[in-house]
Symmetry: C2
């Protein structure tokens, strides 16, 4: 067979050649933009040529610091297709972490959204290796700024060569992108994505049995483009000529609901907190969401209640998936097997609220101290993953040896696997609660709590206990205008769990602290709760 | 990213792990068999172990000479997963060609269907390198035969190790399979398929925008498993846990119709002549074919009439595709783009009767003596293809340099490409008719002829002409019980073509000579017609 490499350049070229009439709909600070793939292709080539003129060479890292919009999409293809490495930087990181990762990645150039310039201005003296800044605004004159030299993205495109030929020497194992994990402890860890990994992941996303991304879709990635390539959706969608809706800066649930209605979005992807917000908005407003065929949910376990609410109240199919920064990210996805279609609604919901089967192309293994766990849906073990879109190291980082061992990624996620092969995330190894020598899953308790009609969000953490080592405590955020007492909450949980699983206390909070990508920040919450418990038991 | 290789072993392992309850339904001489993937996996491992015991080593070729059934499917995975090469041999080849390819491939062992033993017995003295024969019958005692040593497949499975571990040293570029082209001139040419090529092709087949093969399908490959891996469907279907219906020996249209009805087949694949036969059968009988979501048609251009008949008469969606032995085989597939959905039925049929867009992962180019042709659906040129599941050579064959040049496969197929990027096969370079310096497409005329209600099949070939160099002559097979005169046929064509395209004569035949895989044998027909013309003009 020919040794034709799998590259991102071939993906954007396919959009240019066969889908030049299909559109990317993009929301920026300046308003809505519509560009067809013919234009996106020419602008992408012009950006590559401009970066080359600015001195970017094969293997150089170019950072982006931006929301989800067409310019970010162009950078997604322009940077890797000239042989450089697209480093998407999480805009919600602390200054300390930003400085760390920009220096660690040795970004040569940064592309920055106009509203995010002040964040970079504040740290500019700490990132001396960056040679140029590009502002991704609608204007072709850059604003006043301390950042020097500062170029206008639109001016660079205007002056660039829109017939630029992408690198002809791309190898499929060349680095195409990188992303740092949003660490809750220690420094962020860098993951490098290869061209091969991203192309194979795009194929996987497009298979009928996974997300089935198609030309006929209108895809709206809500998950940020600065976070694991927006789960790879912009890559797959461009390749297939799928209409894309990129929702831009500061997207509120209202904006999302309006975009879905206006542009007849068929598939969207994001974390559970986003969907909780959208659910609230849909309950308030009167939106037509009938175009939606799939809401992909990952990044954290989706409580059954959300799945049920989306489907029964709004008829919106909800698809639970699992992945992480280290896995490009799609690893598992929950769909019913054909012979499960006739089960009761409750049984089906039970299956679909799991994280599901590993997608074709990857392999998983669930192990604990006794070896591989039984496929009984009960025995817990750590999830191990391997395959061609799984990282094999952290970029220049000693922590590689903790996570990557014997050819497998050790995820730190504790799961069960049932007789059908579906995994169910029980917890992070570090968030499990060890009570009297037995494990209690904080996630199981959280899911049960969030099914209570007055509960908006809930998190369960451990507190030290003299007799049982650790005991669970529930932190609950109530829905606006709803109320519930500790006793009501406990009565709601009692029939669902054995006695020793029940939380020792229920604490009502205004919000659950979260990471920059919307996951519960358990470490911080644990400190808060332990302080609270210490105070109340004094 | 991890350098995990893409291998067939991982595909069958996925079926074993996650779809052990799903079934392969297989028709053999002995009747119907139902095996779940758990059993298929164990039998596949037992076959690998038996072949190892018989001396098969990494890289050795093992030939199969068989219909579509579960034993052939087991061989599809057992042979490559132990590191050997699955050589599927076309059972319809002449003795001369069989001897040539078995010797050229240096097959070490042959797996043979019981009814096909006599064919191999006749040539046994000419294939001295074959060390053992295995008969794929339901019995576990081999029949009396001149072939020595002759083993029973079922006995080997019984004695084999069903926990056999597949080769751990498989590289993705290792050869997995091979198939010889059914040559109309000269010796057959061998094509070697790599593990990587087959896995990527399986992903491509499973994408929502191509054949969308899914776990929920019931897939029946009618295209023989001895011909380009039955278009790769058994590989993709096993990987995804799709129910498979393997229709076995001597499948008549009646048998196919019954299998579709009984097992609720959702997707099937074959050449136009098969579908013409099925169409006749459906018109006669009273079958429930409502389960069918796609009839894939390739191997030769499908006349518009077939597409229309399947869809309007029986509501069966018909999907036109294109590929060849050298391309694993899927290259293009005809689907409407989203913005073409609102066109008139006639316009849609026009689009869908083309061969369509190149599938994600491959690239095509259409060239003639002036370079790349215009995308106007008119200018003709040769189709060139490249990509990771396209062969880069013929196996140990000097003819490699004719077809594989400058990194592209030169297909010998003449096509047009329209402004949407869809290709339309006009002819084989060697079947085009050159009249007065202009090209006439035999295929276009054939499609028009086959749309006539009395015409069952039609082929158009060139005859030499003193003034115009070549002129077209039509050969027509009428439907049973239908009649038409030469004048009626000509009157039917006249409004559809410019005058000089019209055939000089219409000859009525009982059948059109065909190749072993059901394509028109133009070379032979041309001789017949030229003799006929010579006689009638004497």
């Amino acid at each position: 067979m020919m040794n034709t490499p799998l590259t991102l350049a071939a993906m954007i070229e396919r959009a240019e050649k066969y889908f030049s009439k299909k559109e990317v709909i993009s929301r920026t600070h300046g308003g809505m933009h519509r560009l067809d793939y013919g234009k996106v292709g020419r602008r992408t080539r012009a950006l590559s040529s401009a970066l080359e003129t600015l001195g970017v060479k094969k293997g150089d890292r170019v950072g982006t610091f931006a929301w989800n919009h067409h310019r970010h999409l162009e950078a997604y293809f322009a940077i890797p297709s000239m042989g450089a490495v697209l480093h998407t930087i999480n805009i919600r990181l602390s200054a300390e972490h930003l400085i760390y990762i920009i220096n660690h990645a040795e970004d040569k150039i940064l592309l920055i959204d106009p509203d995010l310039l002040p964040i970079i201005e504040k740290i500019k003296d700490k990132i001396p290796a960056v040679q140029a800044f590009i502002v991704m605004s609608d204007d072709d004159i850059p604003p006043q700024s301390h950042l020097k030299p500062l170029y206008s993205y639109e001016k660079l495109i205007k002056d660039g060569d829109e017939t630029y030929e992408f690198a002809s020497d791309l190898e499929e194992n060349d680095p195409a992108g990188m992303c740092y994990t949003s660490a809750t402890t220690g420094k962020p860890k860098g993951v490098v994505y290869s061209h091969r990994g991203i192309v194979l992941h795009s194929m996987a996303l497009s298979m009928a049995d996974t997300a089935a991304v198609s030309e006929s879709d209108v895809a709206m990635p809500v998950v940020p483009m600065f976070h694991v390539n927006a789960w790879g959706m912009p890559f797959a969608a461009t390749w297939l000529g799928t209409t894309q809706v990129l929702p831009g800066p500061t997207m509120t649930p209202k904006i999302l609901a309006e975009l879905i209605e206006t542009y007849k979005v068929t598939i969207t992807a994001g974390v559970p907190t986003i969907w909780l917000g959208l659910l609230n908005e849909l309950e308030k407003g009167n939106y037509d969401t009938s175009s939606l065929r799939a809401v992909l949910c990952g990044g954290a376990a989706a409580p059954k209640g959300i799945i049920q609410a989306f489907e029964s109240k709004f008829g919106i199919p909800f698809v639970h998936a699992y992945g992480m920064t280290e896995t490009t990210p799609l690893v598992t996805l929950s769909r019913l097997k054909s012979y499960q279609q006739d089960l009761s609604d409750e049984e089906k919901l039970e299956i679909r609220s799991k994280q599901g089967l590993v997608v074709p192309g990857l392999e998983i293994k669930v192990v604990n101290e006794n070896g591989e766990v039984k496929r009984d849906g009960k025995e817990m073990g750590e999830l191990l993953i391997r395959g061609p879109w799984i990282a094999n190291e952290y970029y220049k980082d000693d922590r590689t040896k903790e996570a990557f061992r014997d050819g497998w990624l050790h995820t730190g996620d504790v799961v069960t696997i049932d007789d059908e092969g579906a995994i169910h995330i029980v917890d992070r190894t570090k968030d499990l609660i060890k009570s009297g020598g037995e494990w209690i899953s904080s996630v199981e308790l959280e899911n049960a709590l969030m099914a209570h009609e007055a509960v908006f969000e809930a998190a369960v953490v451990s507190v030290p206990h003299p007799k049982w080592q650790e005991r669970p405590v529930a932190c609950v955020v109530l829905k606006e205008g709803k109320s519930a007492t500790k006793e009501e909450i406990m009565d709601f949980l009692k029939p669902q769990f054995v006695g020793w699983w029940l939380p020792d206390d229920v604490i009502f909070l205004d919000e659950i602290p979260k990471t920059s990508v919307g996951k519960f920040l358990k470490l911080k919450l644990r400190e808060q709760v332990r302080e609270h418990v210490a105070k109340t038991t004094q």
